[in-house]
Symmetry: C2
Subunit: 144 residues, 2 copies
DNA sequence: ACCATATCATTAGATGTCGAACGATTCGAC
DNA sequence: GTCGAATCGTTCGACATCTAATGATATGGT
């Protein structure tokens, strides 16, 4: 009786992502952050998003999930939301001083973590890995 | 001002895993299953686990999470739990006929999905990807 | 034999995620 | 201009996951 002879690629991928994601969470938590909060902060600082829908898309989560995090971040004093005068449907999101400070700290965490991930590999290997992952994602993501 | 110049490896990994995991969920749902249910079924059929703790470890989830799924699966008539006569702390888990049937169907889904993932790559490429992912996981997972 | 400790599983409460339904506002066709 | 459709964000209910606390049973040291 013959099941799945080779370890399925999807399983290996999800297990690896789980382990790495977990380590990333731990690293972020040590500086008082979380992964989704870091992703929101990074996107706000590095991309011109004009509303929450674009912000959610850039982070890679749904609008409902973003609302959830923005509520918590606003409660924590990391950002403010106010309705745009030009279009009263959209909420303009802006970082507070506290938000800026947390961003700076978490950026250090993210940089260090990325170096840690790359440390066991040659530049060629990381490039190969990035290329294969990108192709894998595209092959499932894009309608082709 | 210089942030994270290259796309961070962890981000690419998590995004790829999210897309592939999502597609896997859709494929499983089309046959009336879910990813965690499939993982539980596969482990029960292919590994000798003598209690739920081992089952959870083999699947890669915590005991509490496993209890959650086993409750649902038992309610759905996919398996039965009964206390071991030898050690009344442990629950012996056994698939029902319905559980066996679902396993057979989901196995087809898993095989097809794995082929789909591999279809855009040469055997050498999939081997390289598997090797790099394994090394990446080990570098973070193992105490070294 | 007894009691402290370890083991196995469940329960309780939290987080992050999603889809669907819902208000509020804007846009566009007529 | 008005009213139906689209857009923006929130709310609601669901699911998978985790940690910590709890209950039930077994083990071991004295």
């Amino acid at each position: 009786m013959h099941f799945l002879a080779p370890p399925p690629l999807g399983l290996l991928l999800s297990q690896t992502a789980k382990v790495i994601g977990r380590a990333m969470e731990d690293a972020m938590a040590a500086e008082g952050g979380t992964v989704p909060v870091w992703q929101v902060l990074l996107t706000l600082k590095t991309r011109p998003v004009s509303n929450q829908r674009e912000l959610a898309a850039a982070v890679g989560i749904q609008g409902a999930t973003l609302t959830h995090h923005l509520n918590a971040m606003e409660d924590d004093g990391l950002l403010t939301r106010r309705r745009s005068p030009g279009n009263r449907r959209v909420h303009e999101v802006e970082l507070t001083e506290r938000g800026e400070e947390l961003f700076a700290r978490l950026r250090g965490v993210a940089v260090g973590f990325d170096q840690r991930l790359r440390s066991g590999f040659s530049p060629e290997e990381t490039a190969t890995l990035a290329e294969l992952l990108t192709r894998l994602k595209s092959s499932v993501d894009d309608p082709e």
